[in-house]
Symmetry: C2
Subunit: 316 residues, 2 copies
């Protein structure tokens, strides 16, 4: 059995929220969509943009009225207070979901505010760019990307199925796992790369200060790609690192051991082992990431809204 | 005073070597160019490709004959033996240069084989892609990119000026610094990002093995860009890490401290400091790397030889 979703409220219309709105209309899904944003300026911009048949309202309270599915697309640190605010206004039997990059800590903070007659089914679409705001949204942002759904143990199955179906209907591949496992996986595939990108500029600056030689400027594509996400929204990433710092610290410790392991092979002059470790990585990269799929989709996505103004902030 | 360069020999026609050849003819430089490669198959491919007016020969000995400037574009670990081989055949007063990613260790290994009547002026163009081989070369690979020239203390000034001028003539910005300083800078901007990309797949695999959950597949643009260079040539990167492991280890130690510093701010719940550290990185990224310049050049470069077959191997 699946819970019928007719009306969706999307609270927050930044990169992710407005991409969901665009995806719904891009795919002509038979849904009533109400959107809002904490920023009045963003709400006004939404009226200018006119995203599909989305109804723009100026408060969370008004947005969630009669909604079968409410998706909070607000910063992870604001999620609990947003839920507290809308709780009294949620429809009986509504499904409450989100798109946050951190799950366990946010669920812990939020759960006490979720009314008993509402189903809470957290989710995280693994997609993003380094841009943010309502202009940065893309109708195909979620196409062929994973969305991880992290229900609680006692989550209503019909509600979980409904959230999975919603993400599939806008193009995502869906996987269900525990919040804890999600946080460990994302610590490796997203939070650790961000931490690395942020950190390497401090490393470069220290060398610049001690040697008097510029460092970061003597770089090419490797450094540019490695550090692209350092352009991300500092406020958002402060919150993600703060909320997932335990899993991230564990991932960092292992990452550090793995780097030391490669360096040890070099120090010992063990050519065979060094090349083996690098070759294994190359194989894993080739097996896990389909570059063609990315470039194909990127081209399509970029073509979709070429003239939109977007600020350089990241989220995935 | 500048040494006159009329004839250039380029030994090795992989990504970098063949890009130099292409750049010379793309810019119509009045130079006689002789090229060769250790691989007979590559030499035959060069004849098929017909890169400008380059003369293809089948041995290093033949290539360096009468050359005013000899540029070794061979793997860093083969450089010393290549120099040993060509030494008896170099013209009196020839300039010997290279393009290697590691300078100090390679110079140390090579210098004993450089004849007294030849000027040795190592160089390193900071440019590359994850592809390799003669088909991967691009005529604008060096346009607006840095080339670092690392003369020895007793290098002949005219020879140093000639090497700088050569790189400027194919579009590079040139900087002169010591081999030691070069190796520290590149350890941060190139070798550390490669080490990170190689290592994170081992981190991901360990979590996959212990948890039974796939990790690397649940990734988006962040992880793709962070790990692109893991597709690089394992043999080449084995040698770079092996030859520069001291500077790289130092860079890693500082990088590790910088990551711990950000994590410590999170652990202590110090929101202000955490956001400050991230904001500083964002500022340094924005100041040091001009994305527009990259995308503009990338578009041009890609357009140049759209149909060429290239293998996914990296070098910068």
């Amino acid at each position: 059995m699946e819970r019928k979703v007719k009306k969706v409220a999307i609270l927050g219309q930044g990169l992710i929220g407005s991409s969901i709105t665009r995806a719904i209309f891009h795919r002509n899904l038979p849904l009533e969509v109400v959107v809002t944003d904490a920023s009045e300026q963003v709400c006004k911009r939404l009226l200018e943009l006119g995203l599909g048949r989305a109804k723009v309202v100026f408060s969370n309270e008004e947005a969630v009225k009669d909604a079968d599915l409410v998706i909070g697309c607000v910063p992870v640190a604001s999620y609990a207070s947003m839920v507290k605010e809308v709780a009294p206004h949620l429809k009986l039997g509504a499904i409450l979901s989100d798109v946050g990059s951190v799950k366990e800590a946010v669920i812990e903070q939020t759960l006490p505010h979720v009314p008993g007659n509402v189903d809470f089914v957290p989710a995280h679409p693994i997609a993003g760019t380094e841009f943010s705001g309502p202009d940065a949204g893309l109708p195909k942002l979620f196409s062929d990307r994973w969305c991880i759904v992290t229900p609680a143990e006692n989550s209503n199955e019909e509600a979980v199925t409904a959230v999975c179906s919603f993400w599939e209907s806008i193009g995502s591949k869906v996987e269900v796992m525990s919040a804890e496992e999600h946080d460990h996986v994302l610590a490796i595939t997203s939070h650790l790369p961000h931490l690395s990108a942020f950190s390497i500029f401090h490393t470069a600056r220290k060398h610049e200060e001690s040697s008097g030689t510029p460092v970061a400027q003597y770089s090419a594509g490797t450094f540019r790609d490695f550090t692209r996400v350092a352009l991300s929204n500092p406020h958002m990433w402060r919150d993600i690192i703060m909320l997932n710092h335990k899993a991230l610290s564990e991932a960092f410790e292992q990452f550090s051991r793995d780097m030391k392991n490669i360096l040890a092979a070099a120090e010992e002059g063990d050519n065979r082992r060094l090349e083996e470790l690098i070759s294994e990585s190359r194989k894993m990269r080739a097996e896990n990431i389909n570059e063609e799929d990315f470039s194909r989709k990127k081209a399509k996505v970029t073509d979709a809204f070429p003239s939109e103004i977007a600020k350089p902030y990241s989220t995935d």
